[in-house]
């Protein structure tokens, strides 16, 4: 299952004119492939990630997630597709403050109508995989930055997504913790065979991906060898 972005254009009003953030961008991430999306600030990386995550409708272009053309779907169907097929790891963990680590993962199954007798065990298994077996009952306030990001990664994996998106997931962590989290992310993405799009400024992280795509001023820059 892959992620296909074709001819994506996003423009926003800018005073009396219009600012084009993404201009006819094409991007294809194959099943099990990890693509690092790099580029300077303002190049449109996060916007492209939002389009890929069905969080933003492009003004033009087609988004296919796991073979489903999301451009033709209504809001409700896009939400359902996002919940069941796309996992997102944000720059900061974005955990819900009232939920324990285990509940942060379980809630994904709940909001997507997939809560069953195995949910608790699956959430626990994922948290064990990211090394948090001793922190299952801890709330975000009691977790370190690295632990929070691991919880966020487990949450993104809960629905076994076809597409995994990560928006600078280690930006708020120190280099050691960042490297640990990134290694985990890439390992889990490969295990799942997910099409993974990783936004990063870090050259080392980009090098760990199968391929790097550079954005510059809303365009895909020529391929880097």
């Amino acid at each position: 299952m892959s992620l296909e972005l074709e001819n994506i254009t996003v423009a926003v009003p800018d005073g009396r004119s219009v600012l084009t953030i993404l201009d006819t961008v094409d991007l294809h991430v194959g099943q099990g492939e990890t693509v690092a999306l790099t580029g300077p600030s303002g190049s449109g990386k996060s916007t492209l990630l939002a389009v890929a995550g069905l969080l933003l409708r492009p003004d033009q272009g087609t988004v296919r997630v796991a073979g489903v053309d999301a451009s033709a779907l209504g809001d409700r169907a896009r939400t359902r597709l996002r919940g069941r097929s796309i996992g997102i790891v944000y720059q900061s963990a974005n955990l819900l403050p009232s939920l324990t680590a285990r509940e942060q993962v379980e809630v994904v199954a709940h909001v997507n109508g997939r809560l069953d007798s195995t949910t608790g065990a699956r959430a626990r298994e994922l948290l064990v995989r990211v090394g948090l077996e001793d922190r299952l009952g801890a709330r975000p306030g009691a977790l370190s930055g690295g632990e929070r990001q691991r919880v966020a990664l487990a949450r993104a994996l809960m629905m076994e997504p076809d597409v995994l998106l990560a928006d600078e997931p280690t930006a708020s962590l120190d280099p050691v913790r960042g490297a640990e989290v990134m290694a985990l992310l890439l390992e889990e993405a490969r295990r799942l065979g997910a099409a993974t799009l990783l936004v990063t400024h870090d050259g080392e992280q980009a090098a760990g991906a199968d391929r790097e795509v550079r954005l510059r001023l809303g365009h895909v820059a020529p391929a880097v060898a």
Binding site: A50, L55, T79, N94, E103, V108, L115
Partner: protein, 367 residues
């Protein structure tokens, strides 16, 4: 309510505070309901317990007995209406002196001894004898006994206490029954000329038949007919008291709705990013709405139930004292339900915000 219940658990201090405010409003609303019911009871229970369905009074008297004077000419047409039982009644307020010199205020109901208006068989029997009074049971608690003589101020008529009947009052004054002739003697002296206050009516049969029969008899008798409920408005102070109580209750309900609405609006604003995240995780707008409304409903129902329950306990403690207080289950439940509904109504602004939260906001989150 997966997230909502966990929010309630995690932010229990915050929810306890708003719950306390709602509980206090519910407590006051319930107490006011009890006071309103007590005041109404104090104002019209004597009339409410009379076994009549309608009253025919002098036109434009507005249900006020003191403004209505009828005679046998007005009564006569009513006595031939099929399906309607009619009996004259005289109502006036008097002061009387008891055997120990104590002053007793009475709402004096003059009724024909053998009419359907005479209360209970024992009282009817008592009224069938010589002139005297059958008093509200409340007056027995004030130290009056059967055989005591009361001297009615103004007429100086001396009337023995013949017995006691159900507790009732009219215009916040305890009721006393006497024979119609005695009432006329007390009120008009020797110049009664058969006058009384109103014709009490007890109807049977279908409503259409009764309505047309009442209209015909009204025209013939030159009277104005009110239902028993409409006649409550004639009790002194009744309209003002009920309107004041309803106004205060209305204010409380509005204040409660505003407090609840404000709290949940602020709460929703604070949760905007969480809501965006839930939507980004795949939650539909209806899921988030159900979650939020469920949370609001839990807070409202628990807090109002606690408040109403405490008011009920307080009410039980003061019931029977001099404070006119009467707890009735249906009005209390109605007030509690109204508090919950209006509280949820107050949350509409919050609900509107929830529907508008953009899941893309999740990308801009910072813990």
């Amino acid at each position: 309510m997966y997230v909502a219940l966990r929010d309630l658990r995690a932010a229990r201090g915050r929810f306890a505070l708003v719950g306390l405010v709602i509980a206090l409003v519910a407590l006051m609303t319930t107490l006011l309901s009890g006071l309103a019911a007590g005041l109404v009871d104090d104002g019209i229970s004597g009339l409410r317990r009379l076994p009549l369905t309608h009253l025919a009074l002098e036109p434009d008297s507005g249900g006020t007995f003191s403004r209505s004077t009828l005679t046998a000419t007005n009564l006569e047409p009513w006595q031939h209406v099929e399906g309607v039982e009619a009996s004259p009644i005289g109502v006036s307020f008097v002061n009387a002196k008891g055997p120990d010199g104590q002053t007793v205020s009475l709402a004096l109901f003059g009724v024909a001894e053998n009419s359907f208006l005479a209360p209970r068989p024992d009282a009817r029997q008592a009224l069938a004898g010589g002139p005297g009074l059958v008093l509200s049971h409340e007056l027995a608690a004030q130290g009056l006994h059967v055989g005591d003589e009361l001297t009615v101020a103004g007429s100086e008529t001396r009337l023995p206490v013949l017995g006691f009947t159900y507790t009732g009052s009219y215009g916040h004054v305890d009721i006393a029954f006497t024979q119609l002739a005695t009432w006329q003697q007390v009120f008009y002296g020797g110049e009664a000329h058969g006058r009384f206050s109103a014709v009490a009516l007890r109807t049977t049969g279908g409503s259409d038949q009764v309505t047309s029969a009442l209209a015909r008899a009204n025209r013939a008798a030159g009277t104005e007919t009110l239902t028993k409920t409409e006649a409550y408005a004639g009790s002194p102070g009744y309209v003002g008291e009920t309107q004041t109580m309803n106004l205060i209750r209305g204010f409380l309900l509005v204040i409660s709705a505003l407090v609840v609405g404000s709290f949940f609006t602020v709460w929703t604003v604070q949760r905007t990013r969480q809501i965006a995240l839930l939507k980004a995780l795949g939650a539909s707008t209806s899921y988030v709405l159900r979650d939020a409304l469920g949370q609001m409903a839990v807070v409202l129902v628990v807090a109002t139930s606690v408040g109403a329950g405490l008011a009920g306990l307080g009410g039980l403690a003061i019931q029977g004292s001099d404070v006119p207080f009467r707890l009735q289950l249906v009005p209390v439940l109605g007030a509690v339900a109204l508090l919950v509904v209006l509280g949820l109504g107050g949350c509409l602004v919050a609900v509107r915000r929830i529907t508008r939260v953009d899941p893309a906001g999740a990308l801009r989150l910072v813990d």
